[in-house]
């Protein structure tokens, strides 16, 4: 049984309008979000039905994921609530290896009989597919962890906060934006709770409670006389946190250049809405950028997306191997480049790490969706490519015998596969502030927040814009500019890295609905970095007269 609906919203800003937001499961009362769900002992007994059935039918490996996925989405515009959605999806997904081949089946009939039937189906799928399979699945060894659990370290579950409180907060942000010159504003709050129980024939019984939250806003300012309009998106990051993210804390604010207030592990949506209104109006009269080479100073909420696209995706091993060739594409970072051991991804300042354990990040869990304990590993060290992202049935292809622990499925009824872990740029070792990035720039641009983004199917050529763009001249911000986008090539770009702020400026950006695969599945992933400078990057003017 599979139910999947999609909604469209303007709350995410123009950049994401084309991507519908997936909603899984059935509508429920808000109170039901707080129900504890099935107890762990029952889940274990039911998971064992799947594992024992699979073994009895000749499976050499089996895993069962009993999942309860809760979503709450609240949408507002100006003075009204557009929609509130509370959903629950509950079921079990069973994956087996029989005749050396994967088989998968799922059901929302989470009873011994329902699970037995689904397991039999998974076995029959494996056996049928084995006739066309050329090589047997090879799994990297993994320890059986016994009965363990993990929970996102949150202070306050968003699901426990009344909808009215959330609506009041969003409408307050909207009202203050309108008072400060916004013509329109959309705001939204996404709260997600994945209650996942994993069991496998390796001897693991893993209970996890994963929380994520994402407040968004999009402000529009209009000059009716000229017919011009400008949008400014909020500067929040989606986080692996509870409702505490929405409780403002001055100590978690960072003063960016140009008077922009930036946020680390706490977000003030009302203050950001006011700033959005003022900055959107300022954009209406800002000058158009002059195309040319610039030194770019990139703020983490902007650079995070560049890391996602130019490092995160090209180092997914399944992409490198061609499994995604028909959809997202392949990768320039081919196996020979890793094997050579000296592929210069960036210059020696560049250290890029994958990390499924990073606090507050979207990708943080204790164990991945095939029961591998999560960890941190290097992808690029001192500029050199040193590893990919790989899961149990892939790592042998790069001569390794330990999974990286980055297997994920968006729900119990989709099969798990390799997904991007948090991929982050390590902060600089020398003490540098944001001002240190700017003060010795003769001709530069400071980009804040996510804007337009596009990259080719092998991740060479990309073009990015920001939410806010400021011109830098002779070491100082001179004002806002419009129509700026930078174009570069991944390897050239990371080799133009000139200076990285230290850990005091480090914070994380996130992608809440990252798509991959056919049929497509979403996942959530964070990217951390400090403000970073890249010298001599090509900036184009995107203004047009029509």
């Amino acid at each position: 049984m599979k139910r999947r609906n999609f909604i469209h919203t303007a709350a995410l800003g123009a950049g994401l309008l084309a991507a519908p937001i997936p909603i899984f499961g059935k509508n429920i009362f808000v109170e039901e979000l707080l129900n504890p769900g099935m107890d762990v002992a029952t889940k274990k007994a039911l998971a064992d039905v799947a594992l024992n059935t699979a073994r009895g039918l000749g499976a050499t490996y089996a895993d069962a994921r009993i999942g309860r996925y809760l979503n709450q989405y609240v949408f507002t515009r100006e003075k009204m609530v557009q929609n509130t959605v509370n959903t629950e999806s509950f079921g079990i997904g069973i994956r087996v290896i029989a005749n050396g081949t994967w088989g998968f089946a799922s059901t929302n009939d989470v009873t011994p009989d329902g699970i037995k039937k689904a397991t039999e189906l998974a076995i029959s799928v494996a056996k049928a597919n084995s006739k066309i399979q050329t090589d047997d699945v090879v799994l990297a060894p993994v320890q059986g962890y016994g009965d363990v659990s993990w929970k996102t370290p949150i202070e306050k579950s968003s699901m426990s906060v009344p909808v009215s409180e959330k609506v009041d907060l969003l409408l307050e942000a909207n009202a203050r934006a309108l008072e400060n010159g916004a013509d329109y504003i959309s705001s939204a709050l996404f709260s997600v709770n994945e209650q996942k129980y994993f069991a496998s024939t390796e001897g693991s019984y893993i209970d996890q409670d994963v929380h994520r939250i994402w407040p968004t806003l999009n402000v529009t300012a209009i000059d009716k006389a000229s017919g011009k309009f400008k949008n400014r998106q909020g500067l929040a990051a989606p986080m692996g946190m509870g409702y505490e993210y929405l409780i403002p804390d001055k100590s978690e604010e960072i003063m960016g250049a140009g008077g922009v207030v930036l946020y680390r592990n706490r977000y003030d949506i009302v203050a950001d809405a006011i700033a959005s209104a003022k900055q959107a109006k300022e954009m209406l009269t800002a000058k158009s950028v002059e195309a040319g080479k610039y030194d770019l100073v990139l703020e983490p909420n902007h650079l995070g997306l560049t890391i996602h696209e130019s490092v995160g995706h090209p180092l997914e091993l399944d992409r490198v191997l061609g499994y995604e060739a028909n959809y997202a594409g392949t990768s320039f970072a081919t196996l020979d480049k890793l094997e050579a051991g000296d592929f210069n991804y960036g210059n020696e300042l560049v250290n890029l790490v994958a990390d499924k354990t990073q606090p507050h990040s979207l990708g943080a869990v204790g164990y991945d969706d095939e029961g591998v304990k999560c960890k941190k590993w290097d992808l690029v060290r001192n500029g050199t490519l040193v590893n990919y992202q790989a899961i149990r049935d892939q790592v042998h292809m790069i001569g390794q015998n330990e999974s990286h622990g980055c297997c994920y499925s968006q729900s119990w009824n989709d099969v798990q596969f390799q997904r991007m872990p948090n991929v982050s740029l390590e902060p600089g070792k020398e003490k540098y502030s944001i001002n240190d990035m700017i003060k010795d720039v003769e001709k530069g641009i400071y980009l804040v927040g996510r804007g337009s983004y596009s990259i080719d199917q092998q991740r060479y050529n990309f073009q990015f814009g920001g939410t806010l763009t400021y011109e830098i001249k002779n070491g100082e911000i001179t004002g806002m500019v419009n129509d700026a986008a930078y174009q570069s090539n991944t390897q050239e770009f990371w080799n133009s890295c000139a200076k990285i702020c230290d850990k005091d400026d480090y914070r994380i950006f996130g992608s809440f609905f990252d798509g991959k695969g056919q049929p497509s599945q979403v996942s959530a992933v964070s990217h951390g970095c400090s403000t970073t400078r890249f010298n001599g990057v090509n900036v184009i003017n995107t203004g047009r007269n029509i």
Binding site: N27, K224, G227, N326, S452, N489, P519, T542, I546
Partner: protein, 438 residues
Amino acid sequence: MSIYSKDEAKEIMSRALKFSSADGCEISLSGNISGNIRYARNTVSTAGVNSNQNMTVQSNFGKKVGVATIDEFDDASLEKVVKRAEELAKLSPESPEFMPPLGPQTYEESKTAIQKTAEITPEFRAEVAASSINPAKKNGITAAGFFDDYSGFNSMMNSNGLFAFNKNTGMNFTVTMRTDDGTGSGWSTRDYNDVSMFDAAEASQIAIDKALMSREAKAIEPGKYTVILEPAASIGLLGNMFRSFNARSADEGRSFMAKEGGGNKLGERIVDERVNVYSDPFNEIVPTSTWTGDGFPRKKIDWLENGVVKNLSYSRFWADKKGVDPVPFPRNAIMEGGDASLEDLIKDTKKGILVTRLWYIRGVDPQTLLYTGLTRDGTFYIENGKIKHPIKNFRFNESPIIMLNNLETLGKQVRIDGNLIPYMKIRDFTFTSLSDAV
């Protein structure tokens, strides 16, 4: 059982409606069976079949609205879902833009369901994969593809006497063929309501030919070029343009369709006068459902006539506010074409570029509908009426509005993603940088 007949759907929703005590109640019932097969590295990677059925009940007390869903249709379940929607409605704040359920409507039939598509089997899907993989292997090529099909129905009933029903089927196919040495890549796509129109081997061969032809691509300078856009290349840009045909965002002053000084561009010429675009649920090649989600009838609507904006979509709320008739957003776009085949267009081109598809298209400036993205899977230089050699891929920064003002020639129409779009020759298409991607 996921696919109900018209009578069965009517009976289930009538039973549910009897439990309603709200001011208004709108019930949607839908179901479908879908299947897919995915392959890569010349072998099948995943295959699956899904079925689902779902009822959504929307109840309202005045402007207070509640929605609940269920997938079981016995009397107890129906009563439960209707009562749940009513309880949620009572708890909800007023929705200022709520529009009450429509009264009875008359719908004409559109042939959206084809039995042969509904009968697709796992064996058929495996044959589709084999039709790509076998010829690929013979040509030193690696195939990756995805085929999915569905058969379903949508129906609705409301407390004001409206009933609507539609059955539909469809299939989508994409395949990427890459030469084993990684220097060439080709792609093709097909989509139909009727699977008997689909020839997997033919579509796969086109992708193979493009992969072989695109090896050893040469770099040429970025700049403004005359391009021949295959429909798969132009649909991404055109689709984004069609989405801007919305009266509300235009009237609010925040879309390309907004006018200086206020108002919208209805009646203005925005593109070349040879451009005519309409939507038509009854078109035999790209049929769609003849009613919207709330039961409003879909009809043939002109959007661009001789380059002039003839209609913008108006939701029921916005139409009511503006005192005009609602215009539903369409499910298909039909752009009138000409007689020229792709070969004719190439033959008539002195210097130009043939583009198979555009990829990773993202908005850059909503004010001008400027988009960026890249060419992919077969980009070729044309000289003196012939394809001379493959070229490296380009990044473009272009607006569909500028593109349609620079129209040279319209060619034959092709079905693409449920739309009918012609081959197009465009002058001065803006490529801004080179990509090494194959």
